[in-house]
Symmetry: C2
Subunit: 190 residues, 2 copies
DNA sequence: CTAATCATGTAAGGCGTTACATGATTTT
DNA sequence: AAAATCATGTAACGCCTTACATGATTAG
């Protein structure tokens, strides 16, 4: 009976305005998708559960396909449930950082190959940081850096994204440097 | 048939020396547990699968309880499988950052309550950073900052831990400051 | 005419969590 | 005498991923 994090995530999205399930799939990609993801197949059953709990209502209209198109809107009960959940300390979710697992066991692989991995990851994080910074600049221009702005949530989460990607990029570069031979391997010259 | 990340994590641990399943449960807690976790109930079936694949072998001895105590050791095939997997780019795992979900929907809750949440989290991250820094200092003293050291993997992952906790702490403090009233609410003095 | 977009669902299977179950040895 | 530690497993349930299934409208 209790609502999952995905349920609250969707509630948070619908608190900004009514949407279809299809809309939610798209809205969950950016920027929330950087922090929580869900497959399309999870959305529709979850919408059903939230509606059954009275946190959402929907209006059905004839849709493009064989089924009806349903537009969901949050109810007062839904808003209340969200407002109760938000200030609660987050439950600790299982960390899943595969690169750190590899790093822990780094001694078990070839150093040059591992260095290449960290260089690749460093570049990937740099690219992502640049992307996030651009989005952040756009939001700033739109005034979303002010807490009262309706998209301040987007701004704040993206700020975390930038900080994270930069930190990660630096760590990967540090790691690659550590794995660089102090004197590069050449033909033996005693 | 393919080996899960947990399987490789356990292989990485056993690459350092033979252990029982019980040992692995403990070893998975620190520092790997900061980046990947598993329940005890996952360990034993996984050990069975790895042994069946020929990546591990075990010696059985009479144990304290009703069952035999099995000590697992990595095989050459196991070492080879690990060495192949390590330099591969990590698969992207579903992000699960509940605090960012809450942040995205921050407008839906009372600002003072949310500020209290971010302050609590800021303190928690500061404590964790201090803990990690102490562990890191101990490893440094033991010489684990050198890539050839057998516990360099511990050192490198902890370094990420410190950077992460500091970054996170700063962000939480920033967020709390943002939610602080520019002029605190008093009795109206028009 | 073909492909993409809009739109909603179901089914099978894997992974992970919580809880249950047993029992000897060592520490308090 | 009680509690913690050592030690290995099973069962039920839920969440998530992958894949399947349908079909109208719009864009190229």
């Amino acid at each position: 009976m209790s609502i999952s994090v995905l349920g609250y995530t969707m509630l948070g999205l619908l608190a900004r305005g009514p949407h279809t399930g299809y809309d939610l799939v798209r809205l969950l990609r950016r920027p929330i998708g950087y922090y929580w993801t869900a497959q399309q197949s999870q959305i529709y059953p979850q919408l059903g559960r939230l509606a059954q709990a009275g946190l959402l209502v929907f209006e059905a209209a004839s849709g493009p396909g064989p089924r009806e198109k349903k537009t969901y809107a949050i109810t007062d009960e839904g808003r209340a449930a969200l407002a109760t959940w938000l200030p609660l300390p987050p439950g600790s979710h299982a960390p899943r950082d595969e690169l750190m697992v590899k790093t822990f066991a780094v001694a078990g692989a070839d150093a040059d190959q591992m260095r290449a991995l960290y260089l690749t990851m460093s570049d990937a994080h740099a690219d992502r940081a640049a992307d996030f910074e651009e989005q952040l600049a756009n939001l700033h221009r739109a005034g979303a850096h002010v807490p009262d702005h309706p998209r301040f949530g987007n701004y704040a989460t993206l700020r975390m994204g930038v900080a994270y990607e930069r930190m990660r990029q630096e760590w990967c570069a540090w790691m690659a440097a550590k794995l660089t031979h102090p004197s590069p391997p050449r033909s033996a010259r005693s």
